[in-house]
Amino acid sequence: MARVVGGIGCSHAPSIAHSYDRGLQNDPMWAPLYQGYAPAKEWLDKLRPDLIIVVYNDHMNRFFFDAYPTFALGVSESHPQADEGWGKRDLPDLPGHAKFSWHFAQSLIEDEFDPTICQEMTVDHGILSVLPLLTDNRWPAPLVPLAANVIQHPVPTPRRFFRLGQAIRHAVESYPEDLRVLVVATGGMSHQLHGERFGFVNPDWDNEFMDRLEGDPQSLVALRHHDYMERGGAESVEMIMWLAMRGALGDKVRRVHRHYYAPMLTGYGLVVFESAGH
């Protein structure tokens, strides 16, 4: 039987990709972020998962509003990088895991989650901005991308994401092979990218979110989209995707690592959990 051996929640942002590609790891503004990722990278290197499931959102790179899926699952053996509007980065395609993915699709649908099934799934900074910070190996394990709509309202509720996490765990535990699975959820913490409130960042709320995610996720599940947008900015509603990672880890978690850094337009948050009983 496969099992969930750990979870990571982290912000994604084009700025992270930009800093990485420009080699700004030691730049005064960027160094705290990279230092904050070092313990997570070390943990992941030791964990050596067999498979990584990532819950994230596409930023109109694979999907457009002509047909915008609420949930979309990549089921192929390889996931190429999308061109986001300024050319591709120097990164290899992500390896996928078709056999697990089709099992995953079956299990999700039996649990009443009905994703769009994608045999061609290109991925964007929702995955690729942070992945290079978590590993020097390109790439450490096959990866299954599960994209969610958090951009065009109506978007799924926070509770729906928590339940999605529970369905992810169920899918993993019903897979017959002994795979050790890491569940990652990415999503920007407080930020707003438009209007007069552009640049809004709320470190107190971001840290409260990480506290509650660890010890009291049900209090986050109970909040409305409006609460998230008011506290963290309109675009920060995507942090509800972290609840899927939390839902996949069971009732109690042990925190391995946590870091937060907010230098510019958003809070760069990072949590690493292991399951501590279900």
Partner: protein, 125 residues
């Protein structure tokens, strides 16, 4: 502020990207989406007006893009995730776009950023 189909209290300085807005801004967003292709980026840069006409933009929508009026484009239904593709193609980054939307110069905006002043919020856990 027109919150259209968003059924909650408006948040000051904030536009929620609703289905109604997505419908209204569809042509602008579709044009922006096409810029994920290098040949299209070149075509847009070579003749912006012709390229915009190809996507059926109204005169007002074309003017908003020509003026780089980002708040106007958000109001017209542009999604910021797509508007940055237009910005990127014509050489404006998100910080420049954001400063304009706040009604500030880029320099004035950067002064409000903690990282720029060397006192960014960091919390180790």
């Amino acid at each position: 502020m027109d919150q259209a189909t968003y059924r909650d209290t408006p948040i000051a300085g904030t536009t929620v990207f609703t289905g109604e807005r997505s419908r209204r801004g569809y042509r602008i967003n579709k044009l922006a989406m096409s810029l994920t292709d290098e040949a299209n980026r070149q075509a847009f840069k070579a003749d912006q007006r012709a390229y915009m006409q190809r996507f059926g933009l109204s005169d007002r929508e074309m003017q908003l893009i020509e003026k780089r009026d980002w708040n106007g484009l958000v109001e017209a239904g542009g999604s910021i995730y797509l508007l940055i593709k237009i910005g990127g193609t014509i050489g404006q980054n998100l910080l420049q776009m954001g400063a304009q939307m706040r009604g500030e110069t880029l320099e004035a905006f950067l002064k409000t950023r903690p990282g720029h002043q060397g006192n960014a919020v960091e919390k180790k856990g």
